[in-house]
Structures are given as structure tokens and as C-alpha cells.
């Protein structure tokens, strides 16, 4: 068994809650690896006595799943209405500029993923962004750009 296969096996078998499903198994893999490799689709299908088609149907439905290894860091910008009204578009533009990206996605050197989030849950502190899942509220384009720059100075999370 390769290292990757071992990690998938351990993540799926390590679930402690009573209700284990295709979705819960995929979430366990996502937590462990930060993405769903093809091997995980096969493994979860076998484990759940489902077809790969069934597993892919679930994996492709939820936008939190990604199918290639994560970049070192991830920045999310909330685009919910509360954040939109107080400047989320300007924040997003600034984040893209700081990342050197034209649009949502990964930088070429895989150091950073930038993505929208429908609601980060801290609407009272809008506009909100997150750096490696740590929330920062009341940001503006200037602070947002600096947050991205500071993040890129750090080592990655070493997935």
C-alpha cells in the first residue's frame, strides 16, 4: 500500500461516529489530505459497497471538495450579502492582485488558493476573509492585501 493509500485507509477507517456514509468518508479524506484523489474515490466506493459513480456523484456535488492537492495556503473571501454591501468586491480584487491571480483558483507555484466562500459566519464583522481558515473581519482592500502578503511569507501547512 502506498503512503497515500495508507492515509486514505486510516482516515476512512478512523471515523468514530456511528453513522458512516459516503459523504462522511469523503469528508474524513478531505480533512486528512486536503483533497480527494482518484484513489480515495475507489477506496470509498469499495468501503461503502457503492459504485465509483455513486461516490463521484456525491464528491462532485459539494463544492468544498477539490480533486487536486491543495496549495500551501488558502485564502477565502466571503461574498454573502452582508459582506457584499460593505465592500467584499474591493476586498476580493485586492486579494487577487496580491496573489497575482486573475480569478478564483491556485497560483501557478501552488503557494496559494483563492476562493469565494458563501458565508464565513461572522457577518457582524463584515467584510470577512479567512487565511488558512482563521477568520479576519472588518477588513478593507489594503488590509486584505497585507494579509495575503503576510500569509505568503509563512511556510505552508505541509500537507
Amino acid at each position: 500500500m502506498s503512503g497515500l493509500e495508507q492515509r486514505i485507509h486510516d482516515a476512512v477507517h478512523g471515523q468514530t461516529q456511528p453513522t458512516v456514509t459516503v459523504l462522511s468518508s469523503l469528508l474524513a479524506v478531505e480533512d486528512e489530505l486536503g483533497y480527494i484523489p482518484k484513489e480515495a474515490l475507489d477506496f470509498v466506493a469499495g468501503f461503502s459497497k457503492a459504485t465509483v459513480n455513486d461516490v463521484w456523484a456525491v464528491a462532485s456535488f459539494y463544492p468544498n471538495f477539490r480533486f487536486e492537492p491543495p496549495a500551501e495556503h488558502v485564502v477565502e473571501v466571503c461574498w454573502g450579502a452582508s459582506c457584499h454591501l460593505v465592500g467584499a468586491m474591493g476586498v476580493f480584487k485586492s486579494v487577487l492582485e496580491a496573489a497575482g491571480l486573475e480569478d478564483e483558483g491556485d497560483t501557478l507555484d501552488k503557494r496559494l488558493t483563492v476562493r469565494f466562500n458563501t458565508c464565513l459566519g461572522a457577518c457582524s464583522q463584515a467584510p470577512v476573509m479567512s487565511m488558512d481558515h482563521h477568520l479576519a473581519g472588518r477588513v478593507n482592500p489594503e488590509i486584505a492585501g497585507k494579509n495575503v502578503a503576510r500569509l505568503l511569507e509563512q511556510e505552508g501547512h505541509g500537507e
Binding site: R115, G121, S124
Partner: protein, 575 residues
């Protein structure tokens, strides 16, 4: 064998006494998602390192949210036997002074203090020169029932919940009431579902109670995807014990065998705190076999979903727990006949269930005495947008919406004026500023074209463009359409396409007719509320702001200039 409830209560009381009136001060830092975004964890860490470096002894707790989110990071100091003194917008650099002067020397830093909260049973004088926080505009209108412990107790410590009346309602239900009498109290309360549909809770419960099956489920819905609403997550982060107790009592009243609490994956604050509350309840014998010595046995499991707004719809939620795509089911059969894994099931929102312990403790009639007409009790509102005071308030239904915005939330910040309110989440509606002289009541708000929904109220000032806001709401709805029903899947895309055209000042007068026609089809041809209500943002915007649409379409101008600035949207929301 777990200790008796009486012994647990005595132990919890001793611990609480030690915390509040022991030999050292108690510092509480608000660390719900709102606090986290404001830097509360950094402040809490700064408090701990200052205590260590100054050699000052104090208890530090990471509590939930008091509702005053605008003032976060928010921390308070309670000297032994004294009152709580709060410091707002605390910076890690100002922590040193608070620790040395207040915690160390017992002298509150008056100039920095936001206010004090008088503590029951304390005979200490109230601090001089510091305002009473209960007189703060955001707190004077409040009547805290579901939120009574929020911001006061450590959510990771069940003993603090028990010391504040926790699990007395369950004890009462198990010893003094039977399931039917428990359900009767909920019926007498007039409680209606707080997730959006406002369906009478007792009626829903009676469907499940009347089903003779032995395996039945109660589901608690904390999917909460509404941008602008965070009260469900906040309850889980601030006082998960109340929710867990509510889920247990719901199981008892309906004869259910198991409860599920359903949360979106990735919201780790709510998930971790809820897990702790469930595990600790089990350790103390409030879950499991023969709860509190009765013949009632019950378990609670926490189930996680992936990112999906529609997973908050009751039948899609069951699909997600079963591990499938979160898509709504055909009904009938209704969940009370054929629900999760085919078993009879009830689905309730977090807020609804968080009211249950107080309703059982104080009686349904007490709850029914609060509120307005058939909208009984309180409503938990999330106030966001460019308001002076953003945050979460629990106010009696029947309060005037104007008072909520201009008094409790302090009106708009930076001298701006209110243009509109967007209520009830993305499927809710907007109200023009001239039309908010309305009593908060499920029916009154619905008739005005907006809804109470889950309690999110987003305010916008005159710099906001209604067409741009409507486009943003529909972009969300389009992104989140699960795709099962084509009138919703394609209708949302059509609406977004038209709205983008209008934002680009390239719309035509026919576009409004086209949107209405698409909206009618979505309403008629969709299985769940997402498509059925999905035209609300557009229809309510047209109702109150028709001329602003005309300005874009006929005069080819965006009066606020918003539509001329760059616009971004998720790749997946593009056609």
C-alpha cells in the same frame, strides 16, 4: 452509576461559586466566530501571557457571544463576588493595563470600560463612572430566553450550564411530566419553527409522537447557510447545553430513539463545542440508557454536511445525513412517516429547540404571554450591514422593526441614511426604508414582502444599489441551486443573466416581464423552497425600488455608481 441529578447540581453550584466568588478574578473573552474574526483568540492568548508575566492569578475562560459583536473583541473581568466589567474593541496591546490595574490591583480601567453587568447575589457596589451595560441600546429591548447563558458561561463546561439551571427542564419532564404533558406545554407556548417556515412546533411534534414506530429520529438543523444569519452557529458556540437539552426533550416528547445535530463541515467552533456538550451530557447520565433513572433512553449524534445551502432544506438534510447529494425529496411521504433512513423523523431548527428547556421549565403559558398575536415568544435577530451596532439581539416578537434598526442597532454608521433592509436570508425579501414601520410578526412581515426567516436582517445605506444587491442575492441562489428541478436550476441562471445585463446598463424593458415569467415557473415547478421562494429577492426589490431598475434600463445609469465598479463571482456561478 452516574451521580444523582441533585448531587450533580450541588457540585455544579460549588464550582460556579468558586468561579464567581472564589479567591481570584474571572476573565471571560467572547470567542464565537464573530469574536474570532475580530481577533478574540489573540486577545485571550495575550491575557494569559500577561497574567503569567505579571505574576497575577486569574481564571480565564473562552466564552461565546454576548451579542454586542460591534464591540469585539470583548472581554470582562469579574473580581471575586463582584460585578462583571466589560472592555470592548480590546487590542492585545491594551491587555497589559487591564491585567495590571483591574485584575491585579482591583481597580477597573474606567476610561477603557464599555460597561458593567450587575451580578445577581452580589452586594458589591457597582463600579463608579462606568455605564450599566443593560442600558446599552442593544440590550434594553432584549428579553433573553434562548440566549440567557450566551456570553456568560464556558460552552465547554457542562457544570457551568447546570449551575445556571441547565437540565432542570429535562429533569422536570422526566419526573413530573410525561411525554404528552411535555408536548402539551410546547403546544400551550404557541412556539413556531424559527428556521423560516414558522410552522407550529407542537403540531409537527404530534405527527411524530403519533407514529407508533419504535425507531424514530429528531433532527436538529444547524446547516445555516443564510449570509447574514449566524444565530444557530452562535447558540452552538455560546451555549450548546441548551440546544442539547432541547434535542433530548424533543426526543422524549415525541418518543424518538435518537437525535442528530446537523452542522456544516468546517465550522469547527460550533462543531467542537457541540461535541463537548454531547459527550459531557453522556458522562453525566443525561444521554444514554435510562436517563436520570427513568425508562427513557436516547442518544445524540453529530452529523456533518459538505457545503450546500439546500442541505438546510428538511428532506435534503436527510439525504445529506444518509451520505448522498443534498437534494430535496418528493413529499408525500412526509418525514414523520418516512424520514431519515426511512424511519419517522422530525426536523427542527436550532433556535426552535433552544427555546424548549425554558418553555418546559417555566410553562407554555409563560412563553405565550410574550410576543404578538400568534407569533409568540422572542426572535433572535442578526443585525448586519453598515449599522452602528452590529450583532445579535433576542427581542420579543411584536417589537417595531423601526425600533430594532434605529434604536437597538443605533441606525446607520458614518452619518449615512438607511435605504433598505434585506430580511430572512437570500430567499427573503427587501423592505424600503419608508416601509419598516412594521411590527415584527411572522404574518405581518410576510405580507410586506419580506420574511422573518431565520432572523437575519441586513441593512444597507444610500450607497447601495438595489440592482447590484439583487444580482448578488440571485448569484448566491444560482450558485446554491442543487440542480434537481430544472425550473430552479435554469430559472436562477436566467434571472442572473438578466440581472447582470441590467447591471451592465444593457437591459431592456422586456427584461422585467421576462424575470416575472421565469419567477412564476420557478415557483410552480420546484420541489423545495429554494426554487419556490427564489424569485422573492427580485419581486420585493421591484415592489419597493422599481424606479431604480428603470434608471438602469431606461436612463442607462446606475444612480449609486455601484454597477460601474468591478464585479466578481465564483467560477461555479457562471454559465
Amino acid at each position: 452509576m452516574a451521580s444523582s441529578f441533585l448531587e450533580i447540581g450541588l457540585e455544579a453550584g460549588r464550582r460556579w461559586q468558586k468561579l464567581t466568588a472564589g479567591d481570584r478574578p474571572w476573565i471571560r473573552v467572547g470567542t464565537a466566530l464573530c469574536g474570532e474574526a475580530a481577533g478574540a483568540f489573540e486577545v485571550a492568548a495575550a491575557v494569559e501571557s500577561e497574567l503569567a508575566s505579571q505574576g497575577v492569578s486569574a481564571e480565564v475562560s473562552r466564552v461565546g457571544c454576548l451579542g454586542l459583536c460591534f464591540a469585539e473583541p470583548l472581554l470582562d473581568v469579574q473580581l471575586p463576588g463582584g460585578h462583571r466589567v466589560f472592555y470592548g474593541n480590546v487590542d492585545p496591546t491594551s491587555v497589559a493595563e487591564i491585567v495590571s490595574a483591574h485584575v491585579g490591583d482591583g481597580a477597573p480601567v474606567t476610561a477603557m470600560a464599555l460597561g458593567y453587568l450587575a451580578q445577581e447575589g452580589s452586594d458589591a457596589p457597582v463600579p463608579d463612572g462606568i455605564p450599566d451595560l443593560d442600558q446599552h441600546p442593544m440590550r434594553v429591548w432584549e428579553n433573553r430566553i434562548a440566549l440567557k447563558n450566551a456570553g456568560n458561561i464556558d460552552p465547554m463546561d457542562i457544570h457551568q450550564y447546570v449551575a445556571n439551571g441547565g437540565y432542570q427542564a429535562l429533569h422536570k419532564a422526566l419526573t413530573d411530566l410525561d411525554p404528552q404533558k411535555t408536548l402539551d406545554e410546547v403546544k400551550a407556548s404557541g412556539l413556531r419553527g424559527r428556521g423560516g417556515a414558522a410552522f407550529p412546533t407542537a403540531t409537527k411534534w404530534s405527527f411524530l409522537a403519533g407514529n407508533p414506530a419504535t425507531e424514530k429520529y429528531v433532527l436538529c438543523n444547524c446547516e445555516e447557510g443564510d449570509p447574514g444569519a449566524f444565530n444557530d452557529k452562535n447558540i452552538l458556540e455560546s451555549d450548546p447545553g441548551t440546544l442539547v437539552e432541547g434535542v433530548i426533550i424533543a426526543g422524549y416528547a415525541t418518543g424518538a430513539s435518537k437525535g442528530y445535530i446537523f452542522i456544516r463541515h468546517g465550522h469547527n467552533g460550533p462543531i467542537d463545542r457541540c461535541r463537548a456538550a454531547v459527550d459531557q451530557a453522556r458522562e453525566l447520565g443525561f444521554l444514554g440508557e435510562n436517563i436520570m433513572g427513568s425508562d427513557f433512553s436516547y442518544e445524540i449524534e453529530i452529523a456533518l454536511t459538505g457545503d450546500s445551502y439546500v442541505a438546510g432544506e428538511e428532506s435534503a438534510l436527510m439525504e445529506a445525513i444518509e451520505g448522498k447529494r443534498a437534494m430535496p425529496r418528493f413529499r408525500p411521504p412526509f418525514p414523520a412517516q418516512f424520514g431519515l433512513f426511512g424511519k419517522p423523523t422530525n426536523i427542527n431548527n436550532v433556535k426552535t429547540l433552544a427555546y424548549i428547556p425554558e418553555i418546559v421549565s417555566k410553562g407554555g403559558e409563560w412563553f405565550a404571554g410574550i410576543g404578538h398575536d400568534t407569533s409568540t415568544g422572542t426572535v433572535i435577530l442578526c443585525l448586519t450591514g453598515p449599522l452602528k451596532y452590529t450583532g445579535m439581539v433576542e427581542v420579543p416578537l411584536g417589537i417595531n422593526l423601526k425600533d430594532v434598526i434605529y434604536e437597538a442597532a443605533g441606525g446607520m454608521r458614518d452619518g449615512k441614511t438607511l435605504k433598505l433592509l434585506q430580511t430572512g436570508g437570500p430567499l427573503g425579501g427587501v423592505l424600503g426604508a419608508d416601509n419598516i414601520d412594521l411590527v415584527l410578526d411572522f404574518e405581518i412581515l410576510r405580507d410586506a414582502g419580506a420574511i422573518v426567516g431565520a432572523g437575519g436582517i441586513i441593512a444597507a445605506d444610500e450607497t447601495a444599489c438595489i440592482v447590484d444587491l439583487t444580482r448578488s442575492l440571485i448569484a448566491f441562489c444560482q450558485y446554491e441551486s442543487c440542480g434537481k428541478c430544472f425550473p430552479c436550476r435554469m430559472g436562477m441562471s436566467h434571472l442572473l443573466e438578466v440581472l447582470e445585463r441590467i447591471c451592465d446598463l444593457e437591459g431592456t424593458p422586456d427584461d422585467l416581464t421576462l424575470m416575472r415569467s421565469v419567477g412564476e415557473n420557478m415557483q410552480a415547478g420546484s420541489l423545495c423552497g429554494h426554487g419556490q421562494l427564489g424569485f422573492n429577492p427580485v419581486s420585493s426589490a421591484l415592489r419597493y425600488f422599481g424606479p431604480e431598475f428603470d434608471a438602469h434600463i431606461i436612463d442607462r445609469t446606475c444612480p449609486t455608481g455601484t454597477c460601474l465598479t468591478p464585479r466578481f463571482s465564483p467560477a461555479e456561478s457562471r454559465r
